[in-house]
Symmetry: C2
Subunit: 248 residues, 2 copies
């Protein structure tokens, strides 16, 4: 079990789930959380490489990550994968499928993960009767929009070195907000995947990691990351430029 996996408990309720404040129940009154619990389906853990849903599949549910980590991606016509995000416990996946009948992207577990499945038809009808839940859903979607905009900025306006620094800081903060260490953590994805997300080839990833290490900013051992100089990291990441919220 990974450290992320150990984070979450609450076999079967939202109201005492540690991720409550990061997830759909945030800001909801108790009775609304109870109603939400009524439609959430907890699925048994999926193992590394298993699909939550695949692009082209009929859209039925959105998912909240409970433990582990998930990546979402789209497959391009030439067979190449384009990774659009990495999702940690508390984050909601599948919102991009609401407008169409099918999922535009694929969600795969990066490590053993468990998720809460929320049938969208039921969520929608519950939302019709539960304004607070509806508002929280809107906030979550608005935040996703913001995150995508930040990602856009990151990927088009920043150097390889800055992209990596930003994404490491971003993971650091997301781990910290889940009660884990901000300075030492294990990335749940391969360098290949991280490079794919950052629009950098593996060779560049390797060289860029090394450059950050040589500058004394981080220490890398496989997927284990230690941030040595968070100040310098942030200076590199955001120096002379505004920081945008970007989720990896």
């Amino acid at each position: 079990m990974t450290r992320i996996a150990m984070l979450s408990e609450s076999r079967d309720s939202c109201h005492n789930c540690r991720l409550r404040t990061l997830c759909l129940p945030d800001n909801l009154p108790k009775e609304d959380i109870a109603k939400l619990e009524g439609i959430v389906q907890r699925r048994k853990p999926v193992s590394r490489g298993a699909y939550l849903f695949q692009a082209g599949q009929r859209f039925h549910s959105i998912y909240a990550v409970r433990t582990g980590a998930v990546k979402t991606s789209t497959l391009m016509a030439n067979g190449e994968e384009h990774i659009s995000g990495f999702h940690l416990p508390g984050e909601v996946i599948g919102l991009d499928a609401i407008v169409a009948h099918d999922h535009p992207s694929t969600a795969v577990a990066l490590e053993t993960a468990s998720v809460c499945e929320i049938p969208y038809a039921e969520l929608e009808s519950l939302g019709d009767r539960t304004p607070a839940l509806q508002h929280q859903l809107m906030r979550i979607m608005s935040r996703e929009l913001l995150i995508e905009q930040g990602t856009n900025h990151l990927l088009t306006r920043r150097s390889a070195e800055q992209r990596l620094a930003v994404v490491l800081i971003n993971f650091s903060e997301r781990f910290a907000s889940r009660g884990l260490s901000a300075l030492r953590f294990r990335l749940p994805m391969s360098r290949l995947d991280l490079g794919n997300y950052l629009a950098l080839v593996p060779e560049t990833m390797s060289r860029t990691f090394r450059r950050l290490e040589e500058q004394g900013l981080v220490s890398i051992a496989g997927k284990e990351i230690e941030i040595i100089d968070i100040y310098a990291m942030k200076a590199l990441a955001f120096g002379a430029e505004s920081a945008q919220t970007a989720r990896a």
Copy 2:
């Protein structure tokens, strides 16, 4: 008045607005459209360069473009502008502000434009009583998410030539769905702005436009675009790769 401006009529109602099916009223029963009309504020035309809202301003309303064209952008710490999108009649702006108290981005009219202002507090409370409206809002936000993902892909995985081809095809389709010609149109923004959006410097924009012209794909006269070979354009834009919805 531009051709886009001539498109829309309906001084003061949604139910006979030509943009109905592209906008918030789409899919709504008559009585819900009437309720929506009750909260929509039509503002007098804003002239080129005027702000609909600015980054940092308190969030009160979302806006639907009625005539003209609008760009949204964020300002980076070094003073540079990062254009995140161009918006044509029927499109809704400001949804990225819902989650926070302030607008994260700025919206400026690219040419004389008129907009419908929709106070969000009222929209939210109307949504609480009007499921169909709420569902339409969710669809719009989900579509925005999809568009952002497509933009990400466009900007990170495509060459300058492909980016320009994709964005021209995209405008062609958006003009066509507003009843204008798909093959001859006038871009509402400067090359500078388009380049900013595409993450290309003006010099590259100029050379790339020329290359498309030399290949006989388009004919350019200032902002007037004529698409000569739409087939070849699409082959260039999407060739050996999947097409993603991307809005300029």
